[in-house]
Symmetry: C2
Subunit: 214 residues, 2 copies
């Protein structure tokens, strides 16, 4: 849902090119479908869609999202610290791939739906990380490439994301947030479901995606 | 040869874990062999070797190293600017993968054999890039991960690399630098061969790898 609203925001000002990363997460089949559904919704041509695979997260392990022997924990939104669903330094790889693509196609802005304040406690979703990454991107690409990562939801709560999405007509019914299920229903109990459901509840908007235990 | 000397330097102070990236470069078969030969030489156990694949560079294109329709240019060491062999923002992806792995296995230092002063003019081989990347790595990983990229050859010339390698007993006979050939001889005329051959010549050391046009 965060990525979808980021796309909706980008679509107001830019021609879109959409990148999806299959990094061996449990819910890749469902996320892959969501990616194309949302790209279809925004009429992104096939030549401007890139689905990449990175098997190293699954091979390296260390996260319950990619390691089949680790359970996806049930939500505990008052928990402090980095949860087991953290995929080590994942956003750096995704953003590095996006910068490589941007440099080739001449794109100047990379939108990412990272939430810092109401997020999952992942270090690579914080504004200070994005800022530092931007400096690395400016220095590690050709002079004049002018590529910058934009994280327009960094300071938003999940309820803000819902409200902005509704305002922009973002197709929430095409999104997928659940860490544990590939559909048709979301599990309703993982961290990502809990954050999503709380956001919709606080915004007073019904979530169009059905949840098993909700 | 730069990676090999970086390994030799790391081996003096640390237990080694070695990462190789197959990113669809023309000379992957030969580089893959060199990776394992060098890891064998330094007795790196299989569990501490990681060979990753990233097909996105080949799919994104934009570099003569990965795009089969672009010729590998002959060397011109006086040329200014970024050569066609530059793979857009490649080192950021390699380093991001290395940081992910380091975070899981608890490694603290990542050695990279990047040369700035006597390098190929790639923006992602510069010290300012490595520094900015290190800041992103510190901020994008768990608190206390303490991972830092070290580029011990940044200020070295190729001749320095040869001299240091000789001093440390680095197995140059197992290395591969050529951009164009998968062996048994190097082409001798691409940028990477030209830099290598000049380095050995200036250091007054014979290159143990045979070159076709040398």
């Amino acid at each position: 849902m965060d990525s979808c609203v980021a796309v909706a925001m980008a679509a107001r000002r830019y021609d879109l090119a959409c990148l999806h990363l299959d990094y061996g997460q449990l819910t890749e089949p469902r996320e892959h479908k969501a990616f194309h559904d949302i790209a279809d919704f925004y009429r992104v041509p096939a030549a401007r869609r890139l689905v990449l695979r990175a098997d190293h997260f699954a091979r390296i392990g260390g996260s319950s999202l990619t390691d089949r022997s680790m359970p996806i924990p049930e939500a505990d939104l008052s928990r402090r610290g980095v949860p087991s669903t953290y995929v080590p330094f994942r956003n750096a790889t995704i953003l590095a791939m996006a910068v490589s693509w941007a440099e080739v196609i001449g794109a100047k802005r990379i939108f990412i739906g990272a939430l810092e304040e109401d997020g999952s406690g992942y270090p690579d979703c914080r504004g200070v990380f994005i800022e530092a990454f931007n400096r690395a991107a400016a220095l590690g690409t050709r002079r004049g490439a002018g590529i910058r990562v934009v994280a327009p939801l960094l300071r938003a709560t999940k309820a803000d994301v819902v409200r902005r999405g509704v305002r922009l007509g973002a197709p929430f019914y095409l999104t997928w947030s659940c860490y544990a299920s590939n559909g048709p229903e979301a599990c309703g109990v993982c961290d990502s479901c809990a954050l999503r459901l709380r956001g919709f509840r606080e915004a007073g908007v019904p979530d169009p995606i059905p949840s098993r235990s909700h």
